[in-house]
Each structure stands twice: as structure tokens, then as C-alpha cells.
Symmetry: C2
């Protein structure tokens, strides 16, 4: 595997950073995960725009423009036999942008230049059975980060909040954790956004609930509106999930994942709902327009 | 500089970790900072016990017991001419314990063994003028992490919350930021605990306010009680700082730092107060009993 590190591609065993990198010492950095479909990257500009916003929020210089990033991502795919439209496999891409190496201390000016890492790997698709039967989720006691502390809209290297939530969900055997915000309202899962259907209408927590502005979340909302599926954003208490007829999760690598069970209670009849299946169909039909 | 990395001491330029270390990818790890006074480490057992608790909170294996850690810390000091009681300088020590290298994903079981780093360096003392005149702090809008999201009692590698607060304080020229918790009550500064004096009584935010259980905070409370200085822990709104007669910060490397100004308003007469000076004296008098 070839990894881009700062200014060149190196074999993975040479992709090493200093223990004084502030990304390691303090989690001082941001990241973005992308997906390529047979070499074509899904909504690359949107992901790169979000990376830029995340970096801006923490006062970190984004070293490349969209064109340069895109060129590097495409080269990363090609070097790992994941590019060119003829790739045998879909790919997972992760960009990490940290504050860089510097003396110990919180002050960002201690670091001269950011550390840039581009990792790619063949995408391991989620098992088809999960899409057919849906996954089980658990509402956990770990709350989503306070937006006024570490805004969840920043895709930062501070992931302990999500890790603690995921660990709690794992103890119940759930696929993922549903996290509530500090007011006890539905927020998001550890790496995905949350949707549910109630009385035939699609609902999703609003950005004001303190969540990531997910790229796939945006696509689902766009496709819904284009196909006269009403979608409402709001602040919802967790019991709304128990009364839901359908529920699903969205993110770049799993696209739209049906949820069959919340806290041991079946969602609707306990299998992927009509609207979920329809949206998955629309997603795949319209996928080409989102690819570079 | 010699750095301990996993199982041996290496020159700092060879202290490198993989970009797949979950400490770098996710901030999945904990740390501890210690201070040695001419080679003798301040309250080493307390610091190591807190490291152990932090690790336990995130389900991370602490690879060494207190004796083995102590031996490694002392060796780190010696190798860097900072040990042995005859050291020319006080020393700063930082232990970092991350989840280690592993495939991408939040699941801690992807990492086979934790990464262990021990960094030491001569302590750069804060300028004497700060202790003589006191420092200026600013109450910032960035709130301290929600205890039910990422408990501030865990000394974790997720430091972006504090970095965002420090950046906000820096824009006003302040030495540090005073952070409030989600309920708007005084919590702590970005790397220190907060004390203030009101009507002759010492006050400090209680651990329930969502703060780190600071080692020096504990020493100040112990010394106060031993010398009939009443100290009260509680939940205090920020205006209590504006009415305070005295205010100071505590942490391992700065010990007891007087605060002369909060948000541009002088604290008392705007210079270190009687009780602050007395506690600094007690701290230095009793320091030997806290050294290894």
C-alpha cells in the first residue's frame, strides 16, 4: 500500500510521523473519509469543501486547493490499483490533516507545517445480509459532544466521544450507538447520520442538534425532495425512534443502512421499510451524477 | 534527547509512529504530565494512578505497573541528564499511551498493543514576573467538554476542546482561558485548575462541575486544611470571579500561579493576594514530602 505523506508517496511501512506531531499529542487536526466507485470519487468537491471548513474552524491551514487535492486522491487510487475507472474494487480514502510536528504545548504556532496523510484501501463492503435484514442499534448513555465545546460539525481527530459510545453499544451486541445531544434529543450515530419514518414522513435530526453535516445525509434529503418524499429536520426525543415505522443510517461508506431494531424493540415489522428500500434504489439510480 | 518508545530508548529523530496509530487517527489514548525537581519526581504515584484510571475509563491496557513506570521515568531523566538528584535543571515529563497501530476503524480490538511514549525535557520555568504580578485570564465562550460525552477527568489525547478555548483567549491577549461547563458554571482553565478567594474563604469548582482531578489542586486543598485555611468546593457562576479578592491557577508545571485580572477587571487590588502568596510559601515549604 502506498500512502501519501506530506509531499510524496511512500510504502505504508515508511509512513511514519514524529511522536511530537500535535495530531498524536493532542488530536489537533481534522480528517475526511471518501469513497471511490471503481475509481470515481463520490462527491469529491463536497468532501474537500467540508475538509476546508473543518480546518478553518480550528485555524489550520489547508495546504492544497480542490484541484490539487483531487489530483493527489486520484494518484493515490492509481498507485494502489484502485483508480482509472477499470478498478477491480471500490475504495475507501481517508485524508488526515494534523497541526504537524512541534514542541509540546497547545499553541498551534509551535508547529511549522501541517502533516498531510492520504490513505486508501479497497472498500470492504458491509455484508449484504445487513442491507437485507437491517442492523440493530442501541441508544447509549454517552452523549454527543457539546456543540459549544467541540462542534460535531468539525470532522476532527478527537474521536474519543464516539469510541466511548461505540464501546457501550458493543456491550449490548448492537451494530452501532445512537447518541443523544446534551438536551437528550436524537443526534447521530458514531459515524453516521440518522433518519426515521413516522406516519409516512421522513425525519432527521437538524444540524442544530449538534451533528455532522453528512454528505450522504444531504444526498438523501435532495433525492427525497426531488421525488416528492417529504423530509423534516428537527429536534426529536429518543422515543420517536421506538414509534418509527422505519429507520436507517447514512454515511459515505455504507450509503443507506436499514435499522431493524432499536434497544431490542423492532422498528416497524423489523425489516427494511418501503421508503428505505425506495431511497436505496434512488441512491443507486442517481449515483452516477455524484461521481467525478 | 532520548525518548522511550514502546520497549526502548531512541534518539528523538527516531521516535516515529505509524500514521495508522489510533492515537493519531482518533486521539484514542491518554497521557500524563509530571514534573521532576532536580531529578525527583513530584507525586509520581498519584500521577501514575491517574494514568491508570484514565486508561481504564477508555478500556485501554496499562502495560506497566507503578514500579516499572517509575523505573522507566527515572531512566528517561538520567539518559537526558535530568536525573540523579544532581540534575542541573527541573524536568518536564510526558507519558503518552495510545491504543496503538491498527486497521482503520473505531474498534479498539483492531490494535494489538498500545503505543507507549515517554518524553522528557528541561522544564522552562514560567517567567518570575508572572508570579510577581499575576496573569490575565479570559472567560471564553468555548465550554468545557460535557462530562457525559468525554469526561474531563480522563486525561485523554482529545485536546481540541482546550485548544479552541486557548485560541479564543489568545485573541484577547490573555494568558489562559477560563472555561465554563455546559451549565455555565466555572470549570477550569485549558491545562490548570482554578481557585478564588471570596470573603477570606478559598473556593474551587468541585469535581462534579466536570473538571480534571488535578494533583496540585489536591495538594493545595490538603495544605489549606492542614493550616486551617477553609476551602470550599462547589458550583460557581463566573461573576464570582469578578467579585473575588484573589484568584490563582494550579497545575504540576506552574504550581500556583496568581491571577491579577479576569476579563479586563482587576482581581482585588490587581496583584497576588495574601492567601495566594501564603499558599505558594506552604507549597514550597512542604514540597520535599511530595518528592520521590
Amino acid at each position: 500500500m502506498w500512502i501519501f505523506l506530506n509531499d510524496r508517496f511512500v510504502p505504508s511501512e515508511q509512513a511514519l510521523i514524529s511522536v511530537l506531531d500535535h495530531g498524536f499529542l493532542y488530536g489537533d487536526g481534522v480528517y475526511e473519509t471518501l469513497r471511490a466507485y471503481r475509481g470515481r470519487i463520490f462527491l469529491v468537491s463536497q468532501h474537500l469543501a467540508r475538509l476546508h471548513r473543518s480546518a478553518e474552524h480550528i485555524g489550520l491551514t489547508n495546504p492544497f486547493g480542490i484541484d490539487e487535492w483531487t489530483r493527489l486522491l486520484e494518484e493515490a487510487l492509481k498507485r494502489n490499483d484502485l483508480g482509472g475507472g477499470q478498478a477491480a474494487s471500490d475504495a475507501y480514502i481517508r485524508i488526515t490533516l494534523s497541526r504537524g510536528e512541534g514542541e509540546i504545548g497547545l499553541d498551534p504556532s509551535l508547529c511549522k507545517r501541517p502533516t498531510v496523510v492520504i490513505l486508501t484501501k479497497p472498500l470492504s463492503p458491509y455484508p449484504a445480509t445487513l442491507y437485507e435484514h437491517g442492523v440493530r442499534v442501541a441508544v447509549v448513555s454517552v452523549r454527543r459532544n457539546l456543540a459549544s465545546a467541540v462542534p460535531p460539525r468539525i470532522k476532527s481527530l478527537n474521536f474519543l466521544n464516539n469510541i466511548l459510545a461505540k464501546r457501550e453499544a458493543s456491550t449490548t451486541g448492537a451494530f452501532d450507538a445512537v447518541m443523544l445531544n446534551h438536551e437528550g434529543m436524537l443526534a447521530e450515530c458514531t459515524a453516521s447520520n440518522l433518519f426515521f419514518v413516522h406516519e409516512g414522513r421522513l425525519h432527521t435530526p437538524s444540524l442544530d442538534c449538534g451533528i455532522l453535516d453528512g454528505v450522504t445525509r444531504g444526498v438523501v434529503m435532495q433525492l427525497s425532495r426531488e421525488h416528492s418524499i417529504s423530509v423534516e429536520e428537527g429536534a426529536y426525543p429518543p422515543f420517536r425512534l421506538y414509534e418509527a415505522e422505519e429507520c436507517f443510517l447514512t454515511n459515505t461508506s455504507m450509503e443507506i443502512m436499514p435499522v431493524s431494531e432499536v434497544d431490542g424493540t423492532k422498528v416497524g415489522p423489523g425489516r427494511p421499510g418501503v421508503l428505505t428500500v425506495r431511497l436505496r434504489g434512488l441512491f443507486h439510480t442517481y449515483l452516477p451524477r455524484y461521481l467525478a
